[in-house]
């Protein structure tokens, strides 16, 4: 269906002819490659003199590359989507777009689809680098596919944030800045809020009990930790830890902050993706509504 969207097709045509795409592909993969080489040297290089190599460290490499790639996505997707509607307005092509009989949803989905397809291109181009972990085993093809699917679903979520900023702002610069602020709040802000709460509550208890050790036992943000369900970085970390057999480590970290339901802990990735995509649907619905409004001036 998206393949028949004229906006999607037009965006694909224009982007693939631009040298920026080639530069982005090369830079993206060079960045990953450098990280991979550095990590390999770190893991195996110091053991050149004959000690045993720990193949399980290759799994750590998988986590590192996965997180790094995801972090790049958090930087790239807002740039694509935050300028989608404002760019049309600045180019003075927006009026001619909306006076066709296509619904605003066609415009929104076309723009979002084009941005997500760029991420498909980037992640597929980086698969050979990601697949180096197969040399040591421990990560299966299914795990890679799950990672790619999660990656793309998260890019839809981040893309929807960029889209709502684009319809709300008058210039691409402002919408891009706003999109990055929102992503930053989501990724770091949620952690910072929990951290601040943890410290605040800990201090309160500490002053009452005057026992630092007791604080560690008593501070419990309970379901407050579920705020992290909206954090896409935590979602991808949860997935990578689960795939590499480190789900216990992830659960331990979360449990230190708050005791939430074991069902949520066990299905953290699925629940967080569901929540994030629900938010994305709401944001996209708001985008469509905003575009459908007739301005007063």
């Amino acid at each position: 269906m998206i393949m028949n969207n004229p906006i999607f097709k037009k965006e694909q045509t224009i982007r693939t002819r631009s040298p920026k795409l080639m530069i982005l592909l090369v830079a993206f993969n060079i960045g990953l490659l450098l990280l991979m080489i550095l990590s390999f040297l770190t893991i195996y290089g110091v053991k050149r003199t004959g000690s045993l190599a720990r193949y399980e460290d290759t799994l750590f490499l998988y986590i590192l590359i996965g997180i790094f790639e995801f972090a790049l996505m958090l930087l790239i997707v807002p740039t694509f989507t935050a300028g989608s509607i404002t760019g049309e307005k600045e180019r003075q092509t927006f009026d001619t777009l909306i006076t066709t009989n296509r619904r605003p949803s066609t415009i929104v989905m076309g723009k979002l689809g084009a941005s997500v397809s760029m991420m498909v291109l980037l992640i597929v181009s980086s698969l050979p680098i990601l697949a180096t972990v197969f040399s040591a085993g421990g990560v299966s093809l299914i795990d890679i596919i799950r990672y790619v699917v999660t990656f793309l679903l998260e890019s839809i979520f981040i893309g929807s944030i960029g889209m709502i900023c684009s319809v709300s702002c008058k210039s691409t610069t402002k919408s891009t800045v706003l999109a990055y602020i929102n992503v930053l709040l989501l990724v770091l802000g949620t952690i910072a809020i929990l951290g601040a709460l943890y410290i605040f509550i800990g201090k309160q208890i500490n002053t009452e009990m005057n026992d630092y050790n007791a604080v560690k036992e008593v501070v419990d943000l309970k379901y407050g930790v579920c705020l992290l369900l909206l954090n896409p970085l935590v979602t991808i970390v949860a997935l990578l830890f689960k795939q590499t057999g480190n789900v216990g480590v992830f659960n331990d970290y979360l449990s230190k902050v708050g005791s939430c339901n074991s069902f949520i802990l066990e299905n953290w990735v699925e629940i967080s993706i569901f929540l994030q995509l629900s938010v994305a649907v709401i944001l996209l619905f708001l985008c469509i509504k905003k575009i459908n409004q007739v301005p007063k001036s």
Partner: protein
């Protein structure tokens, strides 16, 4: 075909359109004229469904419409005064994109695109990138884009703005062709000379209202006094001009070089007498005629100007 009743639009406290009324029949070409900032673009955007008026009724094809209905109504084609194009897109791809946006199926697209490009004489440019086309070609391309949906009403905001005389002539020829197809056209323009040749009806806006509107011939006849008489002499002659100044039937004498323009309030016989007397006084006359009604003059008379 297009009817506006009591339309009002304001930006904040500034009233742009105040109880605007307009009626355009099917097949008419209506020229909208007015000083900069009087609200021509606002009126066209409201008709295209891009701006919400404060109040008023707008009927298209006899049916009252809301702003959103007009925005998605393919019977209305809209060409803005300023428009952009996409980089890295060929002309054919640009038209193909809009044909798809207008809902054409793949097998229909090529024919409808070539038909419109043929109309605007751009078939030879289908492999060129749209962003490197000249201004005139872009205007024609935008017109072709508007016509893809086969509109019954065409709203053109300054279609000839920034074009050289040759390019303006091309646009005029295309619009003449559209007139033959009975498409209702509303054009706003500052190039009054083109409007008076192209339009069947004219509306002159000033302040917040339409001050004069009607068929072009009627508007040109509005000039309250007699059509000005223009005399061009073979050489400058101060005595001659003093003679003209003192002539009883001559008023508002204006002299520029060897040309004198004046309001002559006599009959045709008295006009002939003037000519005879001038020749007998030794004037060398190479031109002696009444000027045709001039839209620019009417516009300047009626409006306060820029």
């Amino acid at each position: 075909m297009v009817e506006i009743q009591e339309l009002c639009k304001k930006y904040g406290t500034h009233i742009v359109l105040d109880n605007m009324n307009l009626h355009i029949e099917r097949g008419q070409t209506y020229g909208l004229v007015g000083p900069n900032g009087v609200g021509k673009t606002t009126l066209i955007k409201i008709l295209a469904g891009l701006l919400e008026p404060e109040y008023g009724r707008i009927k298209i094809g006899g049916k009252e419409t809301t702003t959103k209905e007009r925005r998605s109504n393919l019977k209305i084609g809209y060409m803005p005064d300023y428009f952009g194009v996409y980089q890295n897109l060929k002309l054919y791809e640009y038209m193909e994109f809009y044909a798809q946006m207008y809902g054409y199926r793949n097998k229909e697209i090529k024919n409808v695109i070539m038909e419109q490009l043929d109309l605007v004489h751009l078939t030879s440019k289908i492999e060129e990138n749209v962003d490197i086309l000249s201004r005139g070609m872009k205007q024609r391309l935008c017109l072709a884009r508007c016509l893809l949906a086969r509109p019954e009403v065409l709203l053109l905001d300054e279609p000839a703005s920034g074009l050289d005389p040759r390019a303006r002539k091309d646009i005029c020829q295309i619009l003449h062709h559209l007139q033959e197809q009975q498409i209702t056209i509303l054009i706003s323009s500052h190039i009054l000379q083109d409007l008076s040749k192209m339009c069947t009806h004219i509306g002159i806006m000033d302040g917040t209202k339409m001050v004069v509107q009607g068929p072009v011939e009627d508007i040109l006849r509005i000039e309250e006094e007699a059509k000005p008489l223009c005399i061009r002499f073979t050489e400058v002659n101060a005595n001659l001009f003093r003679y003209l100044e003192s002539y009883a039937l001559i008023q508002d004498l204006k002299v520029e070089g060897t040309q004198a323009t004046m309001r002559f309030q006599g009959s045709e016989v008295e006009e002939a007498n003037l000519l005879t007397q001038l020749i007998q006084n030794g004037a060398g006359i190479c031109y002696f005629a009444r000027e045709e009604g001039n839209l620019e003059r009417i516009f300047l008379q009626i409006t306060k100007g820029d």
